[in-house]
C-alpha cells in the first residue's frame, strides 16, 4: 500500500474481484466471485443464462438495482464499490451494455463529446481536431458512415447498430478496462466481425477486461487470454481458450454438476 510520503504508485494494474456477493432485492445472485484480470488481458466469462454473468457486469459498473452485500472490486488497487457509476467510468471502466438504451434528441456526436469532456481535467477542453480525428479513425474501423453521428443516440437503431454504437463509444473513450455484456447476442456474422475488429483494434498492454458471452462464436474472433465459467453466482472453472471450445461442443450440463460438487 502507498501512503502520502511515497510518490510511486505501486498498485497492481488489474481488476481484482474479491469474494463478491450481490443481490437484487432479497435474492442473492453473486455468491462469492473471485477473479483477477490483469491489464493487457481479456478474459471470457461464460456460463448458463441466469447464473450471474450480467449481474457481475452491472455490479462492476455500479447499477443501483444491485446491492453488494460482501466483497470488493479493486481497479488498479482502488475499491470502486462506493463510487458513483460516472466516477468508475472516469477511472477507465467501460461496459458495453447488453441492451443499450435509447436517448432521443441527443446526437451521438454531441454525446461523445460530452463523455470525452467528462474525462478532462477542469479547464481543459476536448479540441475539435482531437475529437474529429478520433471519430474518423473509429468510424473507419467500424465501417460506418460519418452521418451516423448525427443520429440520436440509439433511437430507432437495430440491435446490430446499437452494439456497433457501443464499440464506437469504446473506441472514442479509450477505457482501460472493458466489460462486454453479451455483445454478440442478436448479431449476424458480418456485424459480429465488425464488433470484434473494433475490440481487437484496442487490444494491447493498456486494455484489460471481461467478455461475457453464452457462446463460443464471439471468441472465435476475439480470442480470450483466459476463460472462466460462472454457475450459481460462483466461478466454478477457469482455463485457457480451449475451455470455451469444450463448452461449445459439450454444452453446460457438466459445469452445472461442478457447481453442485
Amino acid at each position: 500500500m502507498t501512503d502520502q510520503s511515497s510518490p510511486v504508485q505501486t498498485a497492481p494494474y488489474q481488476i481484482e474481484i474479491r469474494n463478491l456477493h450481490a443481490s437484487v432485492g432479497d435474492m442473492p445472485i453473486l455468491k462469492g466471485i473471485n477473479l483477477t484480470i490483469p491489464r493487457g488481458e481479456l478474459h471470457a466469462v461464460m456460463g448458463p443464462n441466469g447464473n450471474g454473468k450480467s449481474t457481475l457486469a452491472k455490479v462492476i459498473v455500479g447499477d443501483p438495482e444491485y446491492t453488494v452485500t460482501e466483497g470488493e472490486v479493486l481497479v488498479d488497487g482502488q475499491n470502486i464499490l462506493e463510487m458513483e457509476p460516472d466516477e468508475r467510468a472516469r477511472l477507465g471502466v467501460f461496459l458495453a451494455f447488453q441492451y443499450p438504451v435509447e436517448i432521443p434528441g441527443v446526437t451521438i456526436a454531441n454525446f461523445l463529446r460530452l463523455a470525452m469532456q467528462a474525462r478532462k481535467a477542469e479547464g481543459e477542453e476536448v479540441s475539435f481536431s482531437e475529437f474529429y480525428g478520433k471519430l474518423l479513425a473509429a468510424l473507419k474501423v467500424l465501417e460506418w458512415d460519418e452521418s451516423i453521428v448525427e443520429r440520436y443516440l440509439n433511437a430507432g437503431f437495430s440491435g446490430g447498430e446499437k452494439k456497433r454504437n457501443e464499440i464506437l463509444q469504446m473506441l472514442m473513450l479509450e477505457p482501460t478496462y472493458i466489460i462486454m455484456d453479451e455483445t454478440d447476442s442478436g448479431l449476424d456474422v458480418d456485424a459480429l466481425k465488425i464488433v470484434a475488429k473494433g475490440v481487437n483494434s484496442m487490444r494491447g498492454a493498456n486494455l484489460g477486461g471481461l467478455i461475457i458471452t453464452h457462446y463460443q462464436r464471439l471468441l472465435d474472433y476475439i480470442v480470450p487470454d483466459r476463460v472462466h465459467i460462472i454457475v450459481d453466482g460462483k466461478v466454478v472453472q477457469s482455463g485457457g481458450p480451449e475451455l470455451a471450445k469444450k463448452l461449445d461442443s459439450e454444452g453446460y450440463d457438466w459445469v452445472k454438476e461442478l457447481a453442485l460438487a
Binding site: G62, P64, D86, F94, G105, V106, L114, A118, Q169, L173
Partner: protein, 468 residues
C-alpha cells in the same frame, strides 16, 4: 443593483432576480381606474379614438368575470398592481442615450451584444415603456418598419388603425380587455411585400419595480410574400409580492408571407403571465409560434393561428418547464376557416418538484374548410413523483373532410437512461440534463443557435440538483 435576499429561498436558481432602485418619470397610483387609463393616454399624447378605445375596453374588463378554467388566479390581486410606470429616458436609438442603470440592466442581459452580433433590430422595454428601439440601416432602406408601438401609432396612423385590435379585440377575454385599457410599450413591425428579413428582430421585456404590471401591445404586419422572425425575451426581479404581465400580440401574415414569432419567457417566479397571442394567416401564408415558457408563477398562454384563406398554414411549437410553485397552462389554438389549410401543434412539458404543466389546446375546423388537417402531439416529462401534468385537448370539427390527429405521451426519466449516461462518465445531473435536452431538442433546433443554447442553459439551471 440589489439582490433581494429575502426571496432567495423560494427561487435560488433564478439568476435575473436582481433589481435597480426605482427612479421613474411617472408612476401611476396603485390599482386600475378610469383616471389611470386617462393618465396613460395623456402621457402618450394619443388621438381621441385611442382614448375612447381604452375606456371602452376598461368597461369590458369590468364586465367580464375572472376565468375559472385554467390556472388558479385567486392569488392575483389586481388592486395591488401598478399599471403604469414610465422610466426616465425614453425610446432612444442609441444605447448611449439610455439612462445608466437601465442600460446596465440590458448589458447584463446581453442585449446590446446580441444586437451587434446577430440581430436585424432590437427593442428594449423597461417597466411600461420602450427605452430603446433600433433597426439596422440596411433593413430600414428596404422599407422595414420596427418601432415602439407608440411610434407606430404616430408615424403610421392608417396602417395602425387598419389592423389594431382587429385580431384580438378587447371583447376576446378579460386579459385582452385589461391590456386594451392600459397597454403601453411593445413593438410595431411592418415588413413590405417580398422583403425577406433573414436575421431576427428582437424585443426584450424587463420588469423592475415591485408589484408592477406590464401590458405591452405588439402589432406585426408581414405583407405579401415577405418573411421575418421576431424574438421576445423577458425577465424580472424576484420579489415576494406578485407582478402581472399581460401582453397582447397581434400578427397579420398576408398572402404567401412567412413569419415566426419566438418567445423565451423567463419571468421570475412571482409573475402572473397571462398573454393573448394571435395571428391571422391569409392565402398560403405560414405562421409559426415557437414558445418557450420557463419562468413565471402562473402562465396562461395559447398562441393561436387563424387560418383565414386557402392554403394557410399554422404551426405551434411549445415547451414549458414547471418547477416548485409554478403552473404552466400553455398550449395552442389552430382555427381553420378555409379549405386546404393545415396546422401542427407540438407541445412538450417538463415538470418537477410540485410544478404543474398543462397542455390546453383547441383545434377548430369550420364547415367548408375542406381537407383541413391538423396534427397535435403533446409529450410530458415528469422528473419526480410530486410533479403533475394534464392534457386538455379541445377538438371541434364541423367539416367532414377534415383530418385531425392527436397523440399524447407522459414519460418519466428512467433509471436505465441515467445509468447508461453515467457509465460513460457524465454525472447524474449532467445525465438528467442531457435527457431533458434531448426531450426538447425538436423545439430547440428550431431556434437560432444562440437562443437554443440559452434555452438549454436555462433548463440546466432549473435542473440543478433535481435528480437524486
Amino acid at each position: 443593483m440589489t439582490v433581494n435576499p429575502e426571496v432567495n429561498d423560494i427561487n435560488n436558481t433564478y439568476e435575473y432576480g436582481w433589481s435597480n432602485p426605482e427612479r421613474y418619470a411617472v408612476k401611476a397610483p396603485k390599482g386600475l381606474s378610469r383616471e389611470v387609463v386617462e393618465m396613460i393616454s395623456r402621457n402618450k399624447d394619443e388621438p381621441q379614438w385611442m382614448l375612447d378605445f381604452r375606456l371602452k375596453a376598461l368597461e369590458i374588463f369590468y364586465s367580464k368575470p375572472m376565468p375559472t378554467w385554467g390556472a388558479d388566479l385567486s392569488g392575483l390581486n389586481l388592486d395591488e398592481i401598478y399599471y403604469y410606470i414610465k422610466p426616465e429616458g425614453m425610446n432612444a436609438r442609441s444605447w448611449d442615450d439610455v439612462p445608466d442603470d437601465v442600460k446596465k440592466t440590458f448589458e447584463r442581459l446581453g442585449i446590446p451584444e446580441a444586437e451587434r452580433a446577430a440581430l436585424a433590430g432590437v427593442g428594449a422595454q423597461y417597466e411600461s415603456e420602450m427605452v430603446y428601439h433600433n433597426l439596422k440601416e440596411e433593413w430600414e432602406k428596404l422599407g422595414v418598419v420596427f418601432l415602439s408601438i407608440e411610434d407606430g401609432l404616430k408615424q403610421y396612423p392608417d396602417l395602425f388603425r387598419e389592423h389594431f385590435a382587429t385580431i384580438v379585440p378587447p371583447e376576446d377575454n378579460k386579459f385582452a380587455a385589461i391590456n386594451s385599457a392600459v397597454w403601453s410599450g411593445g413593438s410595431f413591425v411592418y415588413v413590405p411585400k417580398g422583403v425577406k428579413v433573414d436575421i431576427p428582430l428582437q424585443t426584450y421585456f424587463r420588469i423592475n419595480a415591485e408589484s408592477s404590471g406590464q401590458f405591452e401591445r405588439t402589432l406585426i404586419i408581414i405583407d405579401e410574400g415577405a418573411q421575418a422572425h421576431y424574438i421576445e425575451g423577458c425577465t424580472a426581479p424576484a420579489y415576494n409580492s406578485d407582478s402581472f404581465h399581460s401582453g397582447v400580440i397581434e400578427i397579420v401574415v398576408k398572402e404567401g408571407a412567412r413569419f415566426r414569432y419566438s418567445t423565451i419567457q423567463n419571468w421570475s417566479h412571482n409573475v402572473y403571465n397571462l398573454v393573448t397571442q394571435r395571428a391571422a394567416v391569409y392565402g398560403h401564408g405560414v405562421m409559426e409560434w415557437v414558445d418557450g415558457n420557463l419562468g413565471s408563477k402562473v402562465t396562461m398562454k395559447y398562441p393561436a393561428c387563424y387560418l383565414l384563406e386557402e392554403g394557410a398554414r399554422g404551426e405551434v411549437l411549445s415547451i414549458a418547464m414547471a418547477g416548485r410553485g409554478q403552473h404552466q397552462d400553455a398550449g395552442a389554438k389552430i382555427v381553420h376557416f378555409a379549405a386546404n389549410t393545415s396546422g401542427s401543434i407540438v407541445s412538450k412539458s417538463i415538470s418537477k418538484d410540485s410544478g404543474r404543466s398543462s397542455y390546453r389546446g383547441l383545434v377548430k375546423i369550420y364547415e367548408g374548410a375542406r381537407n383541413a388537417k391538423t396534427n397535435v402531439e403533446c409529450d410530458a416529462l415528469l422528473l419526480d413523483e410530486e410533479a403533475r401534468t394534464d392534457t386538455y385537448p379541445y377538438i371541434e370539427i364541423e367539416e367532414k373532410t377534415a383530418r385531425v390527429g392527436h397523440e399524447a405521451t407522459v414519460s418519466k426519466i428512467n433509471d436505465e437512461q441515467i445509468l447508461y449516461l453515467q457509465s460513460r462518465g457524465l454525472s447524474e445531473d449532467q445525465a438528467a440534463g442531457l435527457i431533458v435536452r434531448g426531450f426538447i431538442e425538436p423545439i430547440a433546433k428550431e431556434l437560432p443557435l444562440e437562443y437554443a443554447v440559452e434555452l438549454n442553459r436555462l433548463i440546466e439551471l432549473e435542473m440543478e440538483g433535481s435528480v437524486g
